[in-house]
């Protein structure tokens, strides 16, 4: 073993650059694999994971304090089937001030639920206190808000206090997010007493909670043990789960795809780099055999040689991957309230053990070939190509008018098909990865744009003051907003749940008032056409599947005893807004006199190109103080997170791919040291050497680049619809046609760029080779 270790150590020392490259490739790929595995793990049932981490409440129940005492409520913890409880906590609903500029959920819509809770811990519902501290004294409040992307806001003692009309002024001392949605804000019990609680909150976890029936049974047991009429309201965690999953679930397949892509590319690149390293060492293997190493010892030398940087890279990569992925994923998942991501130890173990094993496997296959080869054959397999390979092409190339250094470079890949295949595989993989990943990012971005209609709608406005809203008439509000400078079109939307005959669940219809053309609705269509008359509707494809209907068929809608037969004229993608669209007038036909509260209405404004959005917002505030206008940020917070995550992964995978190419070129240059020395000895200039080496790789880059782009597009076109299917979203073609001539050209040249970049540095060092030394040593 001593001889094996010595030979391996010497081989590592002699191939310093290759050792460094293998170490770097392993570092990057292992980090990628940790990120990919952690991403995959986090993406599987993210709600359940985060819910369990917060020990979420299966039921949030408000009791009437006049009917049931705190002691009676506390005693429900002992009931059979009740696993744990938290409470009783005082609860009240406060009005939020009119025109409150604080744009946080629950505190801009006119009313908010406050709960008096001494601490955020307990056996049920442990909110994620992501900023500041808990409210412990009167006059303090902690808001239930999702963390902003990047966690760059909201310190303790937010300078914007909440003035409760007719009540205290509350200073925001912290922000927390509760997946169980148990409150809009928390205050200290003392503060709650001062606010005069109107209900008592209890949080329950049950032994059985898998289905709504389980939760209902648990609640029935609780209600049965208490005086009648004690329960004012109850909320099942399954309702919250549906809301969260429908919002975030659509992105999970994208993240899973990235995780799988990261895994696949990392494994392929490692296999490529390692087998390349062993193949390039065939001559050395032959020499070792010639001096008396047994075939097994030779294989051992090579396995040890590649294992040294591989193990080092895997360890460093696991550490980087672990500590780099955790904040990245936490930011991504916290942003939608799915709590902090803790990377499971199995991910680290798989990475730190699995990657060296993968390396050994990748090295073993070519090493076993060397094991079988007689010494002389191994030496020749490692030094000289089989004669005659690519002869015709070489003859043709040498006869062209190309400079000889260029024609020699173009001919090089033909001489060693195995090495060329490895290099080509590295380029194709790299370009395919970048193409697919950038396509995925473009699809996500495009999806978000279509779903948010961010290209058509620049401003949203909601009535914030119920009293002021009472005075608002949607037609006049639209007219006011449309009359302001810069407004091109204004529509009003109201969301009303209706029923469809033969369908047990409700249908949420968005009734639209105003000119819809150019407002981004038609981009959401995946079939049929847009509404042209009040008796027509557009349904999401998911809804149509559930209804068993299709475009061209009729469906009967009912609301408040009214009924109307409508024609389904279009099918839209669904997703975030998994609902239906109809004309505002249909509502009057369907249920004349049905109340549409003005504060339910959302106004959407399209601005003329070049209009100053902030200026328009100020004009709206001035013209109608009861409205809260805000710019359509375009991409939602979670979309931004997904895109950032995808972009990070794309960059990491692109770097890994480039390193793979770099390694192959380094091996090529190393293998050709003697040839390069000879060519220089007969008068090849350094520039010609660089030109030859770079040309040889650029040729592969062109072919690999084109093949990689085509493969990337093919994979994108196969994978994205599968992802859509998994999210129950029918994707419009615009989400697949994300490629533009410029981006395709850039991606194709990415192959050449990767190859040329990878080739240039080793080519330059090859050009500087000390000829005398090379020719003497080789």
């Amino acid at each position: 073993m001593k001889a094996v270790w010595r030979a391996a150590r010497a081989a590592v020392r002699r191939r310093r650059l290759q050792t460094v490259v293998i170490g770097l490739v392993l570092t990057f790929t292992t980090a990628t694999i940790v990120l990919a595995l952690a991403l995959l793990e986090s993406s599987v049932a993210p709600f359940d994971r985060a819910f369990e981490a917060q020990r979420g409440a299966h039921a949030v129940v408000a009791f009437d304090p006049a009917v049931v005492s705190a002691a009676e409520l506390a005693a429900t913890a002992e009931l059979p089937g009740v696993k744990a409880v938290a409470g009783p906590f005082g609860q009240t609903v406060v009005a939020t001030p009119p025109g409150n500029e604080l744009r946080v959920p629950g505190f801009g819509g006119g009313r908010a639920t406050l709960v008096g809770r001494p601490a955020p811990d307990g056996s049920v519902d442990e909110p994620d206190l992501w900023s500041g501290r808990w409210a412990t004294a009167p006059g303090e409040v902690v808001l239930n808000v999702l963390p902003p992307y990047g966690n760059g806001r909201a310190p303790e003692g937010d300078p914007r206090p909440i003035v409760v009309p007719g009540g205290p002024t509350l200073t925001i001392v912290g922000y927390a997010s509760s997946l169980s949605a148990t409150a809009d804000g928390w205050v200290s019990p003392e503060q709650m007493d001062a606010l005069a609680p109107t209900a008592t909150q209890m949080l329950y976890r049950f032994d059985d909670s898998a289905s709504q029936a389980d939760v209902d049974a648990g609640m029935a047991a609780v209600a049965g043990a208490l005086p009648g009429g004690a329960v004012l309201a109850e909320q099942s965690y399954l309702t919250v789960k549906d809301a969260v999953v429908s919002g975030t679930g659509q992105y999970m397949p994208f993240l899973v795809a990235f995780g799988l892509l990261g895994l696949a590319v990392a494994i392929l690149i490692v296999a490529n780099v390692i087998s390349g390293a062993v193949v390039s060492g065939f001559r050395h293997i032959g020499v070792l055999k010639a001096i008396g190493f047994t075939p097994r010892q030779v294989v051992a030398v090579y396995l040890v040689m590649v294992s040294v940087p591989a193990v080092a890279g895997a360890v460093v990569g696991t550490v980087i991957g672990h500590f780099g992925s955790q904040p990245l994923l936490t930011t991504a998942f916290r942003g939608v309230g799915l709590g902090e991501v803790v990377i499971n130890p199995w991910v680290d173990v798989v990475a730190v053990v699995g990657m060296p094993l993968l390396v050994l496997l990748a090295a073993l296959l070519p090493a076993l070939r060397a094991h079988r080869l007689p010494a002389a054959q191994a030496i020749s397999a490692g030094s000289a190509p089989r004669p005659g390979r690519g002869r015709r092409a070489q003859l043709w190339l040498s006869g062209t008018r190309l400079p000889r250094s260029v024609s020699l470079g173009l001919g090089l890949p033909l001489v060693r098909p195995a090495r060329t295949s490895l290099t080509m595989a590295a380029v194709v993989l790299g370009v395919m990865t970048v193409t697919f990943a950038s396509g995925l990012v473009a699809s996500v971005t495009e999806y978000a744009k279509v779903a948010d209609r961010s290209e058509a709608v620049q401003v949203y406005a909601h009535p914030v003051d119920p009293e002021a809203a009472e005075r608002m008439d949607s037609e006049s509000v639209r007219a006011t907003m449309a009359g302001l400078p810069g407004a091109a079109n204004v529509v009003a939307e109201v969301f009303i749940p209706v029923s469809a005959l033969g369908y047990a669940q409700g249908v949420d219809i968005e009734f639209i008032q105003g000119e819809t053309a150019g407002m981004g609705y038609t981009e959401q269509l995946v079939g049929g056409r847009w509404i042209e008359a009040p008796g027509e509707v557009v349904f999401s494809s998911k809804l149509l599947r559930q209804l068993g209907k299709d475009v061209g068929e009729h469906v009967t809608l009912t609301l408040n005893g009214g009924r109307k037969d409508v024609l389904i004229v279009g099918r839209m993608m669904g997703g975030v807004l998994d609902n239906a669209y109809a004309d505002w007038d249909l509502l009057a036909e369907l249920a004349p006199g049905h109340e549409v509260r003005p504060d339910w209405i959302t106004y959407q404004v399209q601005l003329d190109e070049g209009t100053d959005v902030e200026g328009y917002l100020a004009a709206v505030r001035a013209a109608e103080p009861g409205l809260r206008p805000e710019a359509n940020a375009g991409l939602g917070q979670y979309t931004v997170t997904v895109i950032s995550l995808s972009t990070t992964l794309t960059l990491v995978l692109g770097t890994v791919a480039a390193l793979g190419v770099f390694n192959t070129v380094v091996l090529n240059a190393r293998e050709r040291r003697r040839d390069l020395g000879m060519l220089k000895s007969i008068g090849m200039t350094p520039r010609q050497v660089v030109a030859m080496m770079v040309t040889s790789m650029a040729a592969l880059g062109v072919v690999g680049g084109i093949a990689g782009v085509l493969l990337g597009i093919l994979v994108h076109r196969q994978v994205v619809p599968i992802m859509g299917e998994a999210s129950q979203i029918e994707l419009p073609p615009v989400l697949l046609d994300v490629w533009r001539p410029l981006s395709l050209t850039l991606l194709s040249t990415a192959g050449v760029a990767i190859a040329v970049f990878g080739a240039y540095i080793p080519a330059r060092s090859a050009a500087r080779l000390p000829i005398a030394e090379v020719l003497h040593n080789e």
Binding site: L679, S681, I771, A772
Partner: protein, 224 residues
């Protein structure tokens, strides 16, 4: 060719220690000495493959110390032909293209270069092996291809580093005859060798090296 007080150090090792030597056009000079005495280092200095630590080297009136890397490459291309002990042919190319390559690097068109390469291979008696790859040629044939390549650009000086060192006796004889013939038609030769027979057959002057210095110099009567 003139070496003036050439000294070459590799770290603490002194490979050449103040070597001065002059070779006139048409001369055939053999350099002999024990292994590690600096013969090959001296040859590398003359070929512009390495630079002296001190002193100067000039060939055909050109001071190599004044040339940059590209200048040295052009110098080798046009003024020097080199023959190595282990041939140093490109394994990827057949014999004809190996020879033609030297001319093609200077910008000569492929057809012209191949024509001249074929003439040279013919003169050296291996035109029939022109399409063979180096791995299919015998040692003697490979060295002839290497000689043809060295002569391709009509060099002022032909440098040979142990040209028969890797050959059997028959092939070695053939190469010696070849070098002798070349010198007899006016080709200047500088041969580094361990082989006294080669020196006696091909050279008109013998320079003896030891410890990086010229320790002796004498004229030779060429053996028949």
């Amino acid at each position: 060719m003139r070496l003036d007080g050439v000294r070459k150090e590799y770290g603490e090792t002194v490979a050449l220690d103040g070597v001065s030597l002059e070779i006139r056009a048409g001369e055939a000079v053999a350099v002999m000495g024990p292994s590690g005495c600096g013969k090959s280092t001296m040859l590398n200095m003359v070929a512009g493959l390495d630079r002296p630590t001190e002193g100067s080297v000039s060939v055909n009136g050109e001071d190599l110390g004044r040339l940059d890397e590209t200048g040295l490459a052009l110098f080798r291309r046009h003024r020097i032909g080199m023959i190595f002990q282990f041939f140093n042919l490109l394994d990827d190319l057949p014999a004809l293209d190996n020879v033609a390559l030297a001319a093609q690097l200077t910008g000569v068109r492929a057809s012209q270069a191949r024509k001249r390469a074929l003439e040279l291979l013919d003169e050296l008696g291996i035109a029939g092996r022109r399409d063979m790859y180096p791995s299919a040629l015998s040692g003697g044939e490979r060295q002839r291809v290497a000689v043809a390549r060295a002569l391709m650009n009509r060099p002022a000086l032909l440098l040979a580093d142990e040209p028969t060192g890797a050959l059997d006796s028959v092939a070695g004889e053939q190469v010696m005859d070849l070098l002798l013939d070349l010198n007899q038609i006016g080709q200047t030769l500088l041969i580094v060798t361990h082989d006294p027979q080669l020196a006696a057959r091909c050279a008109s002057r013998l320079v003896e090296f030891a410890d990086g210095r010229v320790v002796g110099e004498r004229s030779l009567e060429r053996a028949a």
